[in-house]
């Protein structure tokens, strides 16, 4: 092989090459500035897109919070009541029993309250006491019967008209009245714990989210109980045992597709199938839960399969080699190791289900339910639907309440997503 001639360049060639390279380097350097500028622009643009996303999120959260904080409060009026003077005919022994509030109210507590308020501020102000004032008062007395012995000043909700006037809306006379009462210290905005404990109402002053929240929780329980075992078992089957054939392909394709079917289609399914089979369960959490379970199951299957796939095969080999059966391998080794991953996927799927509105509209979970549901089969609403319904309310007091409900919903979702992220980080690949 006589490559020497070619390999060994003469000194003039060397100089030639060096000159070429020097030229090239100069050319290269000239362009560098532009290239680096382009690099910076590109990086900036990429950073900007992250920033925009974060900014939108921030605006959304700030808007909801600034609107919603007020939604946790309500306008209340301090009413001095001299129970001794009123002389209500009440059997004190009944006040320890469950029906105490009814006893009080049938004893004329409502009229007594009206009377006390009229005495204190005049009839026009007393008229603006909220519809739930008497009920609140009864509850207060039931928890502290000794109140009945003397005088007390209780803070009770006013009606929406006065509440609006207090916000500076509505007729001028009322606004004047609100201003006057405010100056006197009679009318205040107070934190409204009841918002977290009451159910839907027509008056924003009286509305609460517990009814919807409880409906959401019941629905989620049904969803979890159905979707989790089915999803995990299906994931195990497909990942560990399924033979490669047409049937498995069909199952796989349907799961992947179901994961992307619009949620409203599941609503149509619930309406046309579940409500056809169980017509008397309209609006019930169990039907809502079943509908959402079908929607959540594919998410669990897919994340479950990924989690199972990431368990190293060496673990399976190890167990098989000491005589564990394939079922034992999965239930003793693979599933426990895949569990964090499966749970992460499940939580994310459940969070999505918790925020879901459209399919539940289809199956009647948009009913007005003034008491929290007491079981899986009693009609109820859910938190996102409640938000939707309130956003449509004519009463403007509901704007704040809606944002407050959104805050509660977001807190739940943040907690769930946070838990999922925590789980994912904590259990990421220990082997």
């Amino acid at each position: 092989m006589s490559k020497d001639a070619m390999n060994t360049a003469s000194p003039s060639d060397v100089a030639d090459i060096d000159r070429q390279r020097a030229q090239r380097n100069a050319r290269l350097e000239k362009r560098l500035k532009n290239r680096y500028a382009a690099e910076r622009r590109f990086k900036l643009a990429a950073m900007f897109s992250v920033l925009i996303s974060v900014a939108v999120l921030a605006v959304l959260l700030v808007a909801m919070t600034s609107n919603g904080i007020a939604g946790f409060t309500r306008a209340e009026m301090k009413v001095p009541i001299d129970f001794a003077e009123l002389g209500l005919a009440i059997d004190r022994s009944q006040l320890d029993q469950p029906g105490a509030e009814n006893v009080l109210r049938s004893a004329g507590l409502g009229d007594a309250l009206q009377y006390a308020a009229t005495q204190a501020y005049g009839a026009d102000v007393a008229d603006e006491l909220g519809g739930g004032a008497a009920r609140d008062l009864a509850a207060k007395i039931a928890s502290d019967p000794d109140m009945l012995d003397g005088q007390a000043t209780v803070s009770l909700p006013v009606d929406e008209d006065l509440a609006a006037a207090y916000r500076g809306e509505g007729p001028a006379e009322l606004q004047a009245m609100a201003a006057r009462l405010k100056d006197e210290g009679v009318l205040t905005r107070a934190f409204d714990w009841g918002f977290l404990a009451r159910a839907d109402a027509t008056d924003p002053q009286e509305a609460g989210i517990w009814g919807a929240l409880k409906g959401s929780l019941l629905t989620m329980i049904v969803t979890l109980v159905l979707a989790f075992p089915i999803g995990v078992l299906a994931a195990v089957y497909l990942e560990e045992y399924a033979p490669k054939n047409k049937w498995t392909d069909i199952i796989e394709v349907s799961i992947n597709n179901l994961a992307a079917v619009p949620s409203i289609i599941f609503g149509l399914l619930g309406l046309a199938v579940f409500l056809w089979i169980f017509p008397n369960l309209r609006s019930a959490p169990i039907i809502g839960g079943m509908t959402l379970a079908l929607m959540t199951m594919p998410v669990i299957v897919i994340s479950g399969r990924n989690a199972i796939k990431s368990v190293p095969p060496s673990i399976r080999d190890g167990a098989l080699a000491i005589g564990a059966s394939p079922v034992q391998v999965v239930f003793h080794h693979v599933l426990p190791l895949a569990l964090p991953g499966i749970l992460t996927g499940t939580i994310i799927g459940m969070a999505r289900a918790l925020g879901e509105t459209a399919p539940l509209l289809m199956i009647g979970m948009r009913a007005f339910v003034a008491t929290p549901p007491d079981g899986f089969t009693s009609p109820s609403s859910v938190l996102p639907v409640q938000i939707f319904l309130w956003s449509d309310e004519i009463d403007r007091g509901f704007v704040e309440r809606t944002s407050a409900a959104i805050i509660v919903l977001l807190l739940f979702l943040l907690a769930m997503n946070g838990l999922a992220i925590y789980l994912r980080n904590k259990f990421e690949r220990r082997w």
Partner: protein
């Protein structure tokens, strides 16, 4: 599962139907559970009048609702469905009135209309002829020379139904030749009288009423069509336009002078009265609160005339049933 003789108990009243009646039914339900704490509170779902009748007439038994709210009278055909499904004893109560209001921003142009003018402005084919009006002045030279822009309800809402029935049809009937068509070619008559233009002058509005206020407030040249209860709620921002010489005030609607008023009904399944606890009390709650200064008018409903109210209060306690023939 369907139709078999099985049923489980239910202790809540179930009401479905009209979205117009919905707020009043909710308020009545709330008042009911306030007055009768021993009963569970009723479930009210807004399914629309037609959807409500569909559920209501499905049959007798716990899975079917006890009450259908309606912003129009039940149709004989619907009653027949009821009968066919065993819902043979239906009680009809007129609970009050709802007005359609035409309104604009406080800064608006403030002109008064007649049903015929509304019809001419909104119909797809006024009196069967192509729609040519672009500006209000095309309808009546005395009107401002501004483009017609009306926000109105979508066809899925009962308010739209009322607009068609109470205002447009009335306007269209002013032309005798069209009115005559009702007998000869009902299909065409209906089309001419109720079809609304879709060239942009009439903007269909989602059912989120809060947005209409903002819309009208920012565009003083636009006018809006909605339920009276809504006008009342926003009377600090909106002004009602007079129709046929009458302002959309409570009194004018209650007296029937303002053309856009329609009665609201609830239908009760008498076969359920015995078995669903509190149903009768719920009806009496309605009756106690539908008076002129009652709870329901504070929610925007208009009270029926005292005679009608009294007659229906009677119905609420005696529960006479109706037949299909009563509905014609």
């Amino acid at each position: 599962a369907c139709g078999g003789p099985q049923s489980a108990g239910r202790d809540q009243i179930k009401a479905v139907g009209s979205s117009t009646v919905y707020p009043f039914a909710k308020a009545a339900a709330e008042e009911f559970s306030r007055t009768y704490p021993q009963f569970s509170s009723p479930i009210v779902e807004s399914t629309g009048t037609g959807g409500g009748f569909k559920l209501f007439c499905g049959g007798v038994g716990t899975q079917y609702p006890d009450i259908a709210n309606a912003s129009r009278r039940m149709k004989p055909s619907e009653m027949e469905t009821c009968m066919a499904n065993g819902v043979t004893e239906v009680v009809e109560l007129q609970v009050g009135l709802d007005g359609i209001a035409i309104a604009e921003s406080m800064e608006g142009q403030n002109f008064s209309l007649t049903p015929a003018q509304v019809y001419e402005a909104l119909a797809a084919e006024p009196y069967g002829k192509p729609q040519t009006a672009k500006n209000w002045s095309d309808i009546d030279p005395s009107f401002p020379n501004e483009p017609i822009l009306v926000y109105g309800p979508p066809p899925t809402s009962g308010t739209r139904d009322a607009l068609a029935e109470l205002i447009l049809t009335e306007g269209c009937n002013t032309d005798p030749s069209v009115a005559a068509m009702k007998e000869s070619d009902e299909d065409r008559y209906e089309q001419i009288c109720t079809e609304v233009r879709d060239d942009g002058a009439f903007v269909e509005q989602g059912e989120n009423d809060n947005l209409i206020v903002q819309k009208l407030a920012t565009n003083p040249k636009a006018i809006g069509v909605f339920g009276y209860s809504f006008l009342e709620e926003n009377n600090d921002k909106l002004r009602g336009l007079s129709l046929g010489g009458f302002e959309p005030t409570y009194e004018n609607i209650a007296s029937g002078d303002y053309p856009g008023a329609r009665p609201l009904y609830i239908y009760v399944k008498k076969q359920h009265v015995e078995a669903v606890p509190g149903l009768k009390e719920y009806l009496s709650t309605w009756a106690e609160n539908w008076g002129k200064d009652g709870l329901l008018t504070s929610k925007g409903m208009i009270a029926s005339t005292p005679e009608v109210a009294a007659r229906n209060a009677e119905v609420a306690s005696n529960l006479p049933t109706i037949q299909a023939t009563d509905l014609q």
